[in-house]
Symmetry: C2
Subunit: 471 residues, 2 copies
């Protein structure tokens, strides 16, 4: 799907990023500066990841604190503290002052405590106050994610007065697409669009052209709720309020995209049994050691869990010995449970993440999955029964066994139907239960579910076979 | 994470959606209309899904074509054709005319051919032309997703002239946050922000205040590339151009969010072996039959694949009989491969989806995964060897076996190390290979990978055991 670069460089223009690489290699400061000023900070941040320590130093020294601010704000969290070591205190003071308040708070939230104290001492008094206020909110809440740089006017102003106020912060504000109207206590009372100001006469009172600000979110709410609200109502910005409805700031559309990407990646990784803190580093920039650490716990834990399946198999060795042919279908019955359970769990976890279902619907979900599971189980059972009854005899020697192929087909079909049905329902209910007891539904990873239904699959298979085949 | 509704209704105000439900039950048209006008169309669309056919009819009759347009545009694709049956031709003509052009094209792309012809005959001449042009682009390309309702001016205008042009389309344009500047041939040459117009004198030429439009995308590019570009550069709108750089329209920030959600859901589902077209219906509104259809093919296909594992097990029955104790660790070795391979595949598929890696990096990825895999395999091998050598003897009776626990621990550890290493590398390389031959990397679902490495796991386990234990 990503088969060409999203933005083709102009044909007549060399790619500035390649120029920068060359300038760094040649230690040509003026060429580097010129090319850097031609580039988008997002591209510069991606380039920065590839540089070694000496090159990073030269890079930051050359591009100056203005551009460096944008690049630092765009870096993965794991690189930020290290990147700030390249600046002298005076430069750092400028850089920290230039940062937008939400980016500054993000940085404070990820650096070491020692760095926090040092950076804090470099802030101006207004920024100190603001940063302290924003640090109250957890990193993954709406309050921790919001920016306070936003157009803010009162209802008793005229369009002319409002424009004068906005003119003052026009370059500071992250967006003027939506401007929020507050009362004298600073409570959110409405919103106007810049176009309403631009296209109305100067003496129109704001009160007359403002709309209700129906969509808003509490600062303490989860960042994922904020992103879902922005998405549902197609908003550019979502106002954030405290419990007294004071207007605190906004979550912007690009925050929402970032939050959605983070949360999707997290869910996808958890589903595959990858643990630990998600890094913001790209795949290739993450070290093997780190990849190892994020995977090893689940891998070892699940391995020991599967000794339980081994134990069941060990105990039923007698059955297997009486009819070798059963081993032909053992992996199938076991795997079908893991697959069916994984499918059900995935559907439910995604539906929970998108806010489509709530734990209260557990019964309806179980009923839907039970119906789906019985259809799936019967289909699979009948297919496999047909295979055993009609196709297997052509390949399998008439073994010294005490039962017919028809009877074997009944036994295997019954086992696989039971296994698929029970795994599907279990796969759907486990994430719901996790959510109901306030755990992340994605802890029910597909591999852990598979380990559980492996055990039930062995028991169902050997139990059914022993009963139907009278072994 | 979604523990409270994102938008709390005002305390003093009853939730309008509940009012609507009551009004529909009581067939109270005026109460329904009043409450509907108080609601957001996204909430109305969610409510619509829950209504039965008679209620839907009453709902659309009452709220009138204006509001109905917004609701229809917000419905899941699967419900749209049915929803339009509730309108008479005259109403339908109004509704189709009211739709924004990208929504109208989306609708044409999902309804039956018969409906397409009928709807097309109801369009005005300008809309006919526009719709035909937009239908040229595939549904999942930037061109198929863009809207043409956007501010568009030329560089030789003054601010005053530009404002006059924009005033005309001010309610039509999806956003005036970015206004694009074209030359006389209609080629994209720059962009201005509404704030630049609002805060500059009326005689300023646009040429003097416009910025370069560096970020743009070809109409034929994949919609996912458009979303990634919007996300990377934090854009509100991304201009779409044809191969001659003519400005065609824009992809907006809310499109990007929707695209990201769709693509993430698709990847998550494919990873779990869920096939077929993703429905836009929410989980509970999707029928069991549909859930069944999306899962059954993978489930049955994978079941038959796992007969291969069964066959390996069947062939090695002799080894198993000579040493029952081997069955204790058979599920572990097999499952560890599926788990390790699934983790590696998931990391690589996500990195490919986010544009972090390209197939050209295959060697670097293989090397990184080989290192990660050998560490993982050795850790697991050593853990399991310690278990077999020191803990198992306390539980296991001194069976009549021809080898010591120490030797058994070597055999199992060697097998699991080999299995984890080979599965990790295979799990990483399969999605890369799929991408390289232009397939969707997510076709390498975790379950299908598990089925493959089940076979290799059985072979490795029995082979290693037979060799080291001399069975």
């Amino acid at each position: 799907m990503f088969s060409q670069p999203p933005c083709l460089p102009e044909d007549d223009d060399e790619n500035p990023i390649d120029e920068i690489k060359r300038a760094i290699a040649a230690e040509d400061g003026s060429a580097l500066l010129a090319a850097a000023e031609d580039s988008h900070y997002a591209d510069l941040a991606a380039l920065y990841e590839e540089l070694n320590d000496g090159e990073r130093d030269f890079f930051f020294k050359t591009i100056g604190p203005e551009l460096a601010t944008d690049v630092v704000a765009e870096l993965p969290y794991t690189l930020i503290e290290d990147s700030l070591k390249h600046f002298k205190p005076a430069q750092l003071r400028v850089l920290l002052g230039n940062l937008s308040d939400d980016d500054r708070v993000d940085i404070f939230q990820v650096v070491s405590e020692k760095a926090q104290v040092r950076f804090f001492s470099l802030l101006g008094p207004r920024d100190k106050e603001l940063t302290k206020n924003l640090l109250k909110y957890e990193e993954d809440t709406a309050g921790g994610r919001m920016t306070t740089h936003v157009g803010r006017i009162t209802g008793d102003m005229t369009v002319k007065q409002a424009l004068a106020v906005l003119r003052r912060d026009r370059e500071d504000a992250e967006t003027l697409s939506r401007i929020f109207v507050v009362d004298v206590q600073g409570r959110l009372v409405g919103k106007v669009r810049l176009r309403d100001l631009a296209f109305n006469t100067w003496d129109t009172p704001i009160r007359d052209i403002m709309q209700d600000a129906d969509e808003y979110i509490l600062a303490s709410a989860d960042q994922e709720d904020a992103a879902l609200t922005l998405s549902k109502y197609d908003l550019i910005v979502l106002p954030v309020v405290d419990e007294f409805h004071h207007f605190l700031g906004v979550i912007t559309h690009d925050d929402a995209l970032e939050i959605m990407q983070e949360e999707s990646t997290e869910d996808i990784e958890k589903l595959a049994g990858i643990g630990g803190e998600q890094t913001e580093l790209s795949y290739l920039n993450t070290t093997s050691t780190r990849h190892y650490r994020r995977r090893v716990i689940w891998l070892v834990g699940l391995a020991f869990v599967s000794i339980a399946s081994g134990y069941v198999m060990y105990r039923f060795n007698g059955v297997l010995q009486k009819a070798y042919v059963l081993s032909l279908f053992l992996p199938m019955v076991v795997a079908a449970g893991g697959n069916a359970g994984g499918q059900a769990a995935t559907m439910v976890i995604r539906a929970l993440a998108l806010g489509e279902i709530a734990p209260g619907s557990a019964l309806r979900i179980a009923w839907k999955e039970a119906r789906t599971g019985i259809f799936l189980g019967l289909t699979l059972g009948m297919a496999i029964a047909a295979f055993i009854a009609f196709i297997l005899p052509h390949f399998h020697p008439p073994a010294p066994q005490s039962f017919s192929f028809i009877r074997l087909s009944f036994a295997v079909a019954a086992a696989i139907t039971l296994q698929v049905l029970s795994s599907t329902v279990l796969g759907a209910l486990l994430p719901i239960t996790a959510r109901a007891i306030k755990l992340d539904p994605a802890v029910v990873s597909a591999p852990s579910l598979a380990s559980i239904v492996d055990v039930s699959g062995m028991l169902i298979y050997f139990g059914t076979a022993a009963a139907i085949l009278e072994l």
